[in-house]
Symmetry: C2
Subunit: 346 residues, 2 copies
């Protein structure tokens, strides 16, 4: 949405309404605004301006004579043009450092990140695991575990480690496995995981048949295993605390929200769509395509390792959320997450 020319006085009042409503969760009256603006305008003047803002669709009345609350359009204008840039408090920064102090494996990092987002924002936090497909292979190890089963350990340059169990139609001897493993490592090192199958298929036509023949009848097994890497995993934390917000005292709103919590995949879809686009994105209420999410807002961003977008994270809550603060939380947490992942790359 382009910036509409709201004269600065109007903007100040809209901003005050939005911020006050975010804080207090109840309709904002003209007197309150006058006070917040140090009586630069009288309540009567403010009422006139509010009538204009309402006509233009930035705010509404819940009933004839209550204060005003922002509409989605109002929040959108606030987020795009009025929102101040906020930083985190030293306290919050300390909390982040503290949380990440003892992390080891990736699922722990994801867990802690989503908890952090939830706790700092006092809404729900969601984090999508770094996606393997966009990482380059550093090393493959094949370990014979039983009969026809082989454990394949994939290690990527981005520091991700993934175990896959392959069930072949017939057993391989240890020396055969070693041969295949060496072949894989020689041929596939540096290749993006998403490309591996394609790459192997091409090899079929190439020179080194002796090893390829060893596993070519098991190719479909490999293909299927690599498909597993496509699945997006994610963490979601804080559902319970967003339920206690006053907007969900209403039984209908609550039921909708609960359905969404059960079907978290819908949220994943929203957040995954954003992944391709750089920067922090905000989705406000009705802007969301899913019926269940139309009373919610999301603040999301993607995160990178070695310059590649590998995942996304964000905060989910009612449309009445502390956008400025949450913007800053999402920004900071994603940056710190990037640093941590960066340090772990191989």
């Amino acid at each position: 949405m382009r910036r509409i020319d709201l004269k600065s006085r109007k903007e100040k009042i809209l901003g005050t309404i939005v911020e006050t409503y975010i804080e207090e969760a109840k309709p904002v009256g003209s007197r309150t605004i006058a006070r917040k603006l140090h009586f630069k305008f009288s309540p009567a003047t403010i009422r006139n301006i509010m009538a204009d803002l309402e006509e233009e669709g930035y705010i509404t009345h819940p009933y004839t004579s209550a204060g005003r609350i922002p509409t989605d359009k109002g929040y959108r204008y606030y987020v795009d043009y009025l929102m101040p840039e906020e930083g985190l408090t030293p306290q919050e920064k300390k909390e982040i450092i503290q949380e990440y102090k003892t992390v080891e494996d990736i699922s722990e990092i994801m867990d802690k990140t989503s908890r952090l987002l939830a706790r700092l924002s006092e809404e729900a936090g969601i984090v999508v695991y770094p996606c393997l497909k966009k990482s380059r292979l550093k090393h493959i190890e094949l370990i014979d575990i039983k009969d026809n089963s082989v454990l394949m350990v994939l290690i990527t340059y981005s520091g991700l480690i993934k175990n896959l169990i392959l069930r072949f139609p017939h057993p391989y001897s240890r020396s055969q496995l070693e041969k295949i493993g060496n072949f894989f490592n020689a041929e596939l090192e540096g290749v993006y995981l998403s490309e591996i199958c394609k790459y192997l298929l091409q090899k079929r036509l190439s020179d080194d048949f002796s090893v390829y023949n060893l596993f070519k009848d098991a190719f479909s097994i490999l293909e299927e295993a690599f498909k597993k890497l496509e699945e997006e995993r994610f963490c979601f934390e804080g559902a319970t605390q967003i339920i206690t917000q006053p907007e969900f005292e209403d039984r209908v709103a609550l039921t909708k929200l609960l359905r969404l919590m059960e079907e978290k995949r819908l949220l994943l879809e929203i957040i995954a769509q954003d992944m391709e686009e750089e920067g922090i994105k905000v989705h406000i209420g009705e802007e969301n395509n899913f019926e269940e999410a139309k009373s919610l807002s999301l603040v999301t961003t993607n995160y990178h390792v070695e310059g590649n977008t590998v995942g996304a994270l964000g905060v989910v809550g009612p449309t009445r959320m502390a956008y400025a603060h949450i913007f800053s939380i999402v920004k900071n947490v994603s940056e710190i997450l990037e640093n941590i992942l960066q340090e772990r790359r191989l």
Copy 2:
């Protein structure tokens, strides 16, 4: 608690009160009971008996003249002596099969199990990961990943696979790693993971010094890594749906519950304590040691692989929960989980 001699008429009435209250969530009156018992007794008779039951502490009044609700003692008696043995409906059995149809790695199994418990019981489900310490080592693989870092893959006979990253004070060559790996596999195969450190320490005094010397300065690293295996991981699902139960409309009760949900570790503690004891355990309300859990009940059981208790699972909800049904859910799900884990062992 021993069976107190409640004459069978009393028992019938207590059972009816418990079951009706579980279903309806509101105090049960004498007329309702009379109807449920096909007017074998008049409401007046039932009132007399209820007065006795109340005096003995099995039921209470919320206020002078409402119906009765069971006390924790009442629920306890019901669970111990009155509860019928219920099975699952074919529908439910189908749902379980369906859920487990496509499972691959252990975290997926745990995830699905907790979701299953939550969905079937309409309460919250909790599952503790199989504990590695109680598994015997089948194979160790050491993979050089970067500078001083080595990936250690532990494979157990129970089919669990665990990756640990070891950061050594100095780098090892590939051939050194292989030597150490071979040594480990030769010496440690079949040893319980909890015993490995102790076992290696004993080796210090033994004959084969040449390999032991290679890593003995890194022993503390190993020790620390193995300590990681002690941590209990778990899944918890369904918190949102137990919040909607009428008992949590009260703001105070809700707050307590939310704190518990944030600090899920408390639940873990309860469930982990039960692990040592065989069979299905029921904890009712005040029986729980934690303040926050005193209005909740847990139905838990442990599960086994190869005869060893390796984990636990259960259902958490308000004291007014469908004990008979949930008992059956916990029993069936744990059995099926055991089968699945059993099939995966190596």
